[in-house]
Each structure stands twice: as C-alpha cells, then as structure tokens.
Symmetry: C2
Subunit: 412 residues, 2 copies
C-alpha cells in the first residue's frame, strides 16, 4: 500500500516540479478557500477525534491542542494565504558563470522531490506542512498521529479536491491513513520514493526516525537550551531574559532549560532570578554552589543537565569562568539555541565563536529561534542537525540544487 503511495508521489512530482509559481499559488488559494468552505465538515470529523480522545482519557491541554473550531480553521487558512505572499524559492540562480572552455554553468534551486512528514497530535500541521511543500514544488506524504486521524483525513480530502480544481495532481498531497507504528517504519525505509523525511514531534519520535530511517532525515526540535550569565552581565537584562526564555511558553523547544552562572555574579543574580521564577512556581535544580546561595533548591543530577523539562523546571550550574561555561554547554547542548548575557565584548565574541549550535544569542531570549521571528515567513520545523539545514526550516531549506551546463559540443 505504501509503495503505491510512493509511486503516486513520484508521478505527481514530475508534474509539480515544473509547475510555475502562478500555478502553485493558485492551488494554495484554492486550498485556503476550500478549508473555509468545508469548515463545518472538518469540525464534524474533528469531533469524532475529540470524542475518542476523551474516552481514552486525554488530558485537557492535549484535547485543546487537538481541537478545531471556526476560528482555528480560519487561522489555518490565513496561514496558507501567508505562504502565498512569500517569494518563490525555486529557480533562483545561486551562482554561475562561463568556464574557460566556453561552457556555461548555472547552479539553480529545484524542489527536493518527495518530502515525508511524520507528526503527532496537532491537526494544523497537516495543512501547514502540505502548503509549505506545495509552495516549494515538493509533493508530500503525511503521516499524522492516530489521535487526529479523522481530522487529518478530512483536511487531506479537502486539500486534494482543491488541487484538482487548480489543475494540479491530487497526489501532490497524500495522507497515510494507516496510523500503526509499522506504517511509520515502512515510510522511513522508502528509498527511491522519499527524498527526505522530516519528523515533527517529541524526542522519542525523532530518535526512532534517526535510528530506523534509511532515507535522509532532518532532525528537528530537541532543545536543551542554556543561558549563560557572565560575570559582566547586566542584571536587569539577565533576569528579564531568563524569565522570558523559561516561562513565556515552557512547552516549546526554544524555551530555556538550564542556567549557567559565573561564580562572581552568582550571589548577586541568583536571588533575583529565583524571585522572578517564583512568580511562575518554577522548580530549580541546582549544584552545590547554587544551593549555598538559594537555600532549599533541589540537588541537580547529571540527568537534570541532560533534560528538556518542557515545563516549569530549570537546572542551574555555577562555573568559575567562561571557558568552563562553554565546556558545560557543549557537553549538554542539543545544538538548538544557546545564549550569553554579558556587556563584555570579548566574552560575547568568545561565546559566539566557541559555542556550536543552530542559534547563538548575545543578550536576547532563546525564544526567538523561530521561522517567523527570523523573518522567514513560515517554518516546517527547526533543524538541530548540521547536514542540509540548521535552525528554522523555511521555504529555501525545502529545495536542493541542480547544475545546468550548456555548451556547444565541449568534450573533456
């Protein structure tokens, strides 16, 4: 069954590959309109998912993420329209020139081909991912979680009808309706049909993809993000950045999970940070020096420093200099976003040169690592690997290149 989906995707790819921007944008316009027109149908199907989830005892916050209403569908449709407004990532000539023998070489951006996206409960990802792939000329194979299967099927159907209306193959967007673990594993091994696999979800899903996939994977979204408060930090900035990065949305990957504090400023800054974090009831796991400054903190274990809490918890380590801070960060970093708070020019440069991560900040919250905040207009995820793309994945990251060489009979 999956093989047929692969064949369909490759067939549609041949058409979509050369579809000009007007045609891709027209299809996105049809999709936005169709989502609005069919919102009652989609909400009805979403109700089935919500009922089943409630019966299975899903938590209220998860139920909220799963739920769709008129407002949310309007939001999803508006996001599709926003993608229409973005520039075409295809056909850009990145470099080129005439070789000494007279041949002309151009390096041009082209679609990756077939992108597979494995994701978990949120149904809005279905439309988001499909729209970004369509804009960038890629056909997409979606494999969502079973909790949202009825919602996903409804939205995929609506999008496929819109594609046909826009005279593009319906198979530019396909949904795998089998939500078993086996269907995910099979998708990870579809070499020859799938050009790249993008998992969007928790650490378990990402690890399963890295370990089992034989098609190339872009790892996304694990964020064990640190903030290092240097001895020359401005205290107000430090407190404000830590408070923002930890508490503005603790469940996301760009939230701060760990503090590293220079010993010379620790006594002054830690009580201020503690006071700020107390407003949200953040639990602090600290080393001995932290405990000697903030009485009653829980003792931090190796596991704490390794952990993405994704909640109102934070680990703290006091270091004797910036080099120890960088060593600590490089040991535990997931390569997502790391920050230094300092007024010292040399420390700032040392940190940005020596910390290896997708995003390295000086005096700004790690929460900014996001396609929208970076000005990309949209994102399909945040890459924490080094191959192909790193950081927020916008439309240009969904392309590859082709060298076009034109001659008049050159031989070697």
């Amino acid at each position: 069954m999956l093989t047929q989906i692969g064949i369909n995707a490759k067939k549609a790819e041949r058409v979509l590959m050369t579809a000009p921007l007007v045609s891709r944008d027209a299809a996105l316009k049809e999709i936005a309109a169709a989502l609005r027109e069919n919102s009652a149908y989609i909400i009805g199907e979403n109700k089935k998912d919500l009922e089943a989830a409630r019966e299975n005892g899903m938590s209220e916050s998860m139920l909220d993420r799963l739920s769709l209403d008129e407002n949310r569908i309007e939001g999803v449709a508006a996001a599709v329209e926003n993608i229409i407004s973005l520039p075409d990532p295809l056909g850009r000539v990145l470099s080129g020139g005439i070789r000494p023998n007279g041949m002309k070489i151009e390096k041009v951006t082209v679609p990756l081909g077939v992108i597979a996206v494995i994701f978990e409960a949120r149904p809005n990802v279905t439309v988001d991912a499909a729209a970004l792939c369509l804009k960038s000329g890629n056909t997409v194979i979606l494999r969502g979680g079973k909790e949202a299967i009825n919602s996903n099927k409804a939205m995929a159907l609506v999008m496929r009808q819109a594609l046909v209306k826009a005279e593009l193959p319906a198979d530019c967007i396909q949904l795998i309706e089998n939500t078993s673990r086996e269907s995910a594993t099979a998708l990870m091994k579809m070499n020859g049909y799938v050009d790249v696999l993008i998992p969007r979800g928790g650490a378990g899903l990402i690890r399963a993809c890295v370990e089992n996939s034989t098609v190339p994977v872009i790892e996304t979204g694990t964020g064990n993000c640190h903030i290092y408060i240097d001895k020359d930090a401005d205290a107000d900035k430090a407190v404000s950045i830590v408070y923002n990065a930890k508490t503005s949305r603790p469940s996301v990957c760009n939230a701060c999970e760990s503090l590293v504090v220079h010993a010379e400023i620790a006594e002054r800054i830690l009580p201020l940070i503690k006071k700020a974090l107390d407003r949200k009831g953040v639990v602090i796991h600290g080393d001995e020096k932290t405990a000697s400054i903030i009485p009653g903190v829980i003792s931090a274990t190796e596991e704490d420093y390794d952990k993405e809490y994704l909640g109102y918890e934070i680990s703290v380590k006091v270091v004797s200099d910036i080099s120890e801070a960088v060593d600590h960060i490089m040991q535990y970093s997931s390569g997502h976003s790391e920050c230094i708070v300092t007024e010292n020019y040399t420390s700032a440069n040392y940190f940005t040169s020596n910390v290896d991560a997708a995003a390295v900040y000086v005096n700004a919250s790690t929460r900014f690592t996001d396609g929208g905040e970076f000005g990309f207009g949209a994102e399909i995820g945040i890459s924490t690997q080094k191959l192909h793309a790193r950081g927020p994945l916008g439309l240009p990251e969904l392309t590859t290149v082709k060298y076009i060489i034109t001659g008049d009979g050159q031989i070697r």
Copy 2:
C-alpha cells in the same frame, strides 16, 4: 576503541573550529612538506601493501592504483598546496540584517564538525580527504581499505606529526587501523561523535552506508549517466560527445552508460556512433529498433538499462519523442549527470527543466561533472543525493551554518 577515536575527534574539533585560516593553511603547508620529506618511508610502507596485494592476486590495474612512487607523492603534496590556495569556506556571512525589534541576525558558515570518510583501495584519498577537511575546519576520521593499510598508516602518521608541528591537535586527523567490516559498521553508528559520513567507493559500499548508517550520510558517486540524442541534434557533436563521454575514462562515475536516441535520427546517427565506438571495442546492448539499424547488437535487458558498466559497454534505447526519452532517463537515472544533444531551443529547455539530476547538460560531455572542471579547485566526492549538497562537493559543501543573534535585552 572507536569511542575513544570519537572522543578525540570531538576534543580536537573544539580547537580546530576556531583556528583561523593562517593556522589551518600553515598546517597544510607542513603536511605537504612532511609528505615530501618522508616519501622514502611512505614508499617503503606502500611496498608492503603491494607485496601483500600481489600475493592475494590483485589485478595489474588495481595494483597500479594502489602503488605510490616519488612522482605520485609529489602529486599528492602538490594537491595539498593547491588546497592552500583556495578561499576560506568558513566565516562567510551568507545573509543577515536587523529585525524589527532591533536584534541583529547573521547566518555564518561554520565547520560541520567531525567528518568520517570510508574509502577503498586508493591511498591518495587519505591525504586528499584529510586536507579538505582540515581546510574547512573539520576533524576527520578516516577508514580506508585493508589493501592500503600500511600506506594509509604511514601517511596518517606523517600528517599527524605535521599537525603537531603547526600547533594543531594531532587528532584533527585520525585513521582507524582496524579494517574489519565491523569497524566500518561501528563508524556508521557513531551518533554524537560523527556529524557526517562520506563513503567513497563502489556501489556496494555506498549501499551499506545508506542502509546501516544512523549518522547522516552524503551518498556519492553512482553514475548511470545518459546521453539523449534529439531529432534536432548536430550529428558531429553527438558522435564526439558520445565517444568522449563513453571512452575517455570508462571506469569513472561521470562516464556515459546509456544512449537514448530519437527515432527520427536513429538511422542516421547510430551507424556513425557504432563506427566511433568500434575504435575502442565498445560492446553495444540495444533494443529491437537499435538492432534493426545496427545488425548484431546484443539485446538490451532491463538489467542493462539499470547498470553502471564502468567499462567499454553501453546500452541503447530508441524513443519516439523527447517526453519518452525523459521518462526513460528518469526511470533509470542515478541522479548524477544527464545530457541532451540538440540544436532545438525548446527541446533543450524541456530537457533541463524536466530531468532531475545533479548535473544536466546541453551539448557537452557528462565527463565534466567534477569539482576541478566546475572550478571548485578540489572535491571530496560527487553527491548524488538531494539533501545538503548535490554534485561535486567542494569546500563550501563541507560547512554548515550558525545563526548569530546579538541584542540588547530583547525578549519575546
């Protein structure tokens, strides 16, 4: 044992990551000098490999590839010096600007980190790969074939001594001395230590890496390259390009393996091509139409169209139009290099838009797909995958990016 090599590589990476160009180039200069100074030692070790290979019945052409003499070592040293002359791929600001909230974002090129290279018999790859990685700020773990183990050990030792002389860690270049299949498989699973694996060798090695590796792989070098002779082809160009692409060096990945010929020109062009290829005794495997024009050709099977002959053999298919030609090519292409010979503007554009491969040629030999020929100065392989890099891999392809964000207290 491999874990220790991984730890050493990561430790050296921290130093090399911030080593400025003068320091990396100085180390390359030491390496070139040390190779020349120690040529007698290297040639002596190489003799051991040659003797063992002869005892194991290695063919003369393979023995030639394995063999090192003063001239070849001079060539290897000169190649290292050529890499010194190339521009620094690191620290380039690819894009950047000020966000509406006043934060500055820069996207800067940085090393990939630790690159593992698995390769087969040729000992010159040891130095080539190490020098390219060093120039691009990457530490390298080399795993060569057992046939060249003494040569590889000698060259790795000489290079490591040169690194120390240049005040860089010896572990910037490490060789795995265990040449068992197990050591290769273990290297493929060194997540956390190896950032990217580049296999250089035959189709079997590449497949093993794709199937077994959990670290990201860049597939290189499988080339089932086609030349399509359009009905509007210039006959002289067609014959000359086919002859060059097939016979100038048939063992390499950018050699032509298959011809696709428009029916309207087949009767005229095939006898001319046959006559040219006969000069090198090229065996032709053709379909029925080919056989009706060139009597006595071997009947082409499905397997022939799928095959990289890497020798004096070629498959031929006659098609009724350009669309059938593109369909055939897309079915069998390995995504390396594909060529159309035509004087027709629309056909040329149709071909370059609809054929998806690393390099697509109009009226020039596929043999040009090469880092040197493309003007990259050097290459570590030719990528046939779409993720990260496609086509010849030069120094810029051995880098990734880092976003550096500088603010004055911005929060979200």
